[in-house]
Subunit: 198 residues, 2 copies
């Protein structure tokens, strides 16, 4: 890449390390950034660094936040006795967007994956157990419907059910608006198993 | 987005302004950046700012470079009497990768587009005319094969041919490895018109 100067080369390399950014995308982004006004670029860089510096895990639910305790955990209107367990802050955000859940969350910051060498001690499971020493009405497991998510759900369920805590799992089934003919067999089977009376 | 703290929100917004980065991708990138070690994030931010600060147009060919005159223009082994006109530095890089061109370039930094309100004065055309006051053997027009690229090629050709300078256009045709059955009609027609004797 002698035809690019070292500054462009470094920028393309750095951007290319981001997830989902291939070398073509990295080039496109790099040239876009170079074409922006200098103030805009400085603002972008500042925002990146300040987000990284100020964000850490909420000491209660372990979602990413810039406060000690996140807005959801510190909201007295939320029902602290119903805890929804999710894999990460994006999943928490997805449920918050529904506006239909008034309990609190526990963010695992990952899922158990023997393939990737991620065990129960690598996610915020101990922290969940500590929270469950307080009285809790229900733990809703909302990990993804992937192999890792299901494994994690089973593991958590086995761990906390013996303590007499009600554990539920969000439903698997046909997505709303989904056309049966395009839905995979496992999902169809789950939808059948999880049928409810009308 | 109350469930994200303002630092994450700002980061997602800034990243979402980059071309081709939608809100989902911006979220994914933001959370990735937050998960990186602080030094890595600082390096990314530094690279972004320093690329923007140190890059400007080569004063001869107008490609983006961190020197006053880019490595290609200052290379005595290149034939300065053959100038290839391209739209941008990425196109220059694409031709450099072939290793088959030993002339020099002229980077227009755009193409004429009446749709986008980009006229001949908005690209580095005056600068090309200045260069053509020195003796030149050939001007190869290698703008894209798009409407804008073709318009620009025609415009340049009409402008400089009267001065008795040899002007050529890179060939349009079937890409190497291309299957005729999937090639559009205009390209097939061009390939026919541009046929060469074997």
């Amino acid at each position: 890449m002698d035809y690019y100067s070292s500054h462009i080369k470094n920028l393309i390399e750095e951007l290319g390390r981001l997830p989902g950014v291939g070398s073509k995308t990295a080039q496109r982004l790099a040239f876009h950034i170079i074409s922006l006004p200098e103030e805009r670029v400085e603002k972008l860089a500042e925002t990146i660094v300040s987000a990284r510096r100020n964000i850490h895990e909420c000491k209660v639910c372990h979602t990413l936040t810039d406060r000690e305790v996140c807005p959801i955990c510190s909201d007295p209107a939320r029902n602290g006795r119903v805890i929804m367990v999710v894999e990460n802050s994006r999943d928490l955000a997805a449920y918050e967007k529904t506006g239909k859940f008034d309990g609190v969350y526990h963010v695992l910051q990952g899922a158990i994956s023997p393939m990737l060498g991620i065990g129960p001690n690598d996610i915020r499971l101990k922290e969940l157990m500590v929270r469950l020493q307080e009285p809790v009405d229900e733990v809703i497991i909302a990990t993804n419907s992937s192999l890792e998510g299901e494994t994690t759900a089973m593991y958590i369920s086995k761990l906390i059910k013996p303590a007499g805590i009600k554990v539920t799992r969000i439903a698997s089934g046909v997505p709303v608006g989904g056309d049966l003919e395009y839905i995979d067999e496992v999902t169809l089977q789950r939808a059948l198993e999880g049928r409810t009376e009308l």
